[in-house]
Symmetry: C2
Subunit: 289 residues, 2 copies
Amino acid sequence: MSIQTDPYTSRGTEPQIIERQDPVVYTDSRESGFLSANQLQFYEDNGYLFFPDFFSPQETLELQEQQQRLWREGIGQEGPEYVREPESDMIRSIFAVHHNDPFFSALLQDPRLVSLARQILGSEVYIHQSRINFKAGFRGKDFYWHSDFETWHAEDGMPRMRAFSISIALTENNPFNGPLMVMPGSHRYFISCIGATPKNHYQKSLRAQQYGIADDNSLTYLARQCGIEMPTGTAGSLLAFDCNIMHGSNSNISPYPRSNVFAVYNSIDNRLGPPFAASEPRPWYLASR
Amino acid sequence: MSIQTDPYTSRGTEPQIIERQDPVVYTDSRESGFLSANQLQFYEDNGYLFFPDFFSPQETLELQEQQQRLWREGIGQEGPEYVREPESDMIRSIFAVHHNDPFFSALLQDPRLVSLARQILGSEVYIHQSRINFKAGFRGKDFYWHSDFETWHAEDGMPRMRAFSISIALTENNPFNGPLMVMPGSHRYFISCIGATPKNHYQKSLRAQQYGIADDNSLTYLARQCGIEMPTGTAGSLLAFDCNIMHGSNSNISPYPRSNVFAVYNSIDNRLGPPFAASEPRPWYLASR
C-alpha cells in the first residue's frame, strides 16, 4: 500500500495555500562562499537577490554578441528547443543552451555562479533547464503569475524545493519593457493550482500558460502579504530567485526589447522522479534528467 | 476648386512624421491662472503635467464612491455609452458622464479644471469627450501607443491641435498595474498612420484599436528622441496631457485595479467639422458637437 506523502499536491479541483515544507537556504556554513551572510539572509527572507553589475561591461558585450549569434543560427531551425512567438515565426526562446552550445555551457559553469548555487542549495548542483529569451519590443506578451516549482513538481517530477533560477539581463530592464515582477516572501507559500494537466501541455504552455497558474484569491492574498517588486537594471545584471517565488511580467508595448539568459540550478540530491501530476514527463530540453 | 490645406493627413498608404503646426499653449498672459509660468513651460516642452495631490483625500473618497455608484447603476445597462471587456461582460468604460451624470458634470466644471483649460487653450472651452475607466487587476489588457488627436482629427473632424485631456486617478497608479506611459515632447510630431478607416470602426476600436496606430519605425524614432515617462501616484492625482502626445499602457497582471476619470477639453474655436479620414463622424457620446 502506498502512502501519499507529497506535501505539494497540485492540479486538483480546489485551490489551496500550503506552507513551504523545505528550507530556502540549505547550506550550514554561511560564512564562506560567493554570498555574504547578509545576502544569504535577504535571499532566505525574500526569495530573490538582485546583483546590478554581476557581469562587467566587457563580459556583457560578449554575452550579447553570443546571443545574437544563436539567433542568427536559429533561423530556419526546426528543433523543439526553438520556441516561436504565438503570432509570428520570430524566435522567443532557445532551450537547452547549457547542453547544445559550448559558450553558454561554459558561462553557466562560471565559478561565481557555481559557488552561488552550492551555497544556496548546500550540495553539488546540476542544470535542470536553461534557455535564452528574446522578448521583442512593441508586441511582447505578458507572462502570468506562476511558481516555477509548481510546474517542475507537477510536470517534471522535481521532488522538493531545492532549486533556484538565475536570469542574466542582456538588455536593460526598465519599468516600461515588461520586466519580471516578484512577490517577495511568496516562496514560503505553495499555491496548489486547479485543473488536471492535459497531455503534451508543454507544447502550448511555453507560448501561453493555461494550467498551473494561481487563482485570483490566492494571488490577492499573496500580494497583500508580500507586495510586488520589480528588480530593474542595466544589461549585465543578475537576478537569482527561488524555485517557488511567485513571479510574472506585464506586456511590453515599449520599443525596447528584453533579452535574458535563464538557467535553473538543482541540487543533485533533488533529482527528478516521475511527474507528480502529469501522465508523462516533459522532454529532456525542458528538464534534464 | 478645393485646395488641400489639412496639415495632418492620416490613414493613407505611407507612414509619415509631420511637425506640429499649432501652438501647445495658446494663452498669452502666462502670469495669471491656475498654472504657474513654470508649469506652463513644462507643459509646453513636455506635453503633459502631473499633479500628485490635485484632489484632497476627502474629495478623492467621494470620487471613488461616485464611480462605484455608476458601476452599480451600469449593471444590465445596454446604452452605447457602456463599453465592456473583450472577453467578459464587465464594464470597462462609461462614456459621456459629463452629459449623463450630474455629479461628474459638476466635477468637470470644477473652477480649478476650467481655469487650467482656459489657460492652456487660450479661449472658452467645452468638453469634447468624457469617460470613466475601470481596468480590473489580473487580466487588464494593454492599450497600444497612439495620439488621441490622430483619431479625433481623422474620425471626429477636430481641425487643429487645440485640446487636451485630463486623467483623474481613482486608484493608485504604480509601475505594476499598467499605468499610462507618455513620450515627453512627442506632442511636437504628428505621426500619420496607414490604413483607411473602416465604417463603424469605433465600435471595435474602443475594445482594441487596430487603425490610427503608429508604425514601429516612427515609434522607435519618437522613443529615441523623447524617452518614456510613467507618471505614477496615489488616487486623487491628476495628469493633464496634450491631445497629440504619444501614449499607451502595458497590460496589468497585478491584483491592483486601475480606475480613472478621463475628460477632454476642447477650445470653442476648434469645434468639430466633418471627419478628415472617415466616411461618417463618430456618435455624440464619443465626440460632442
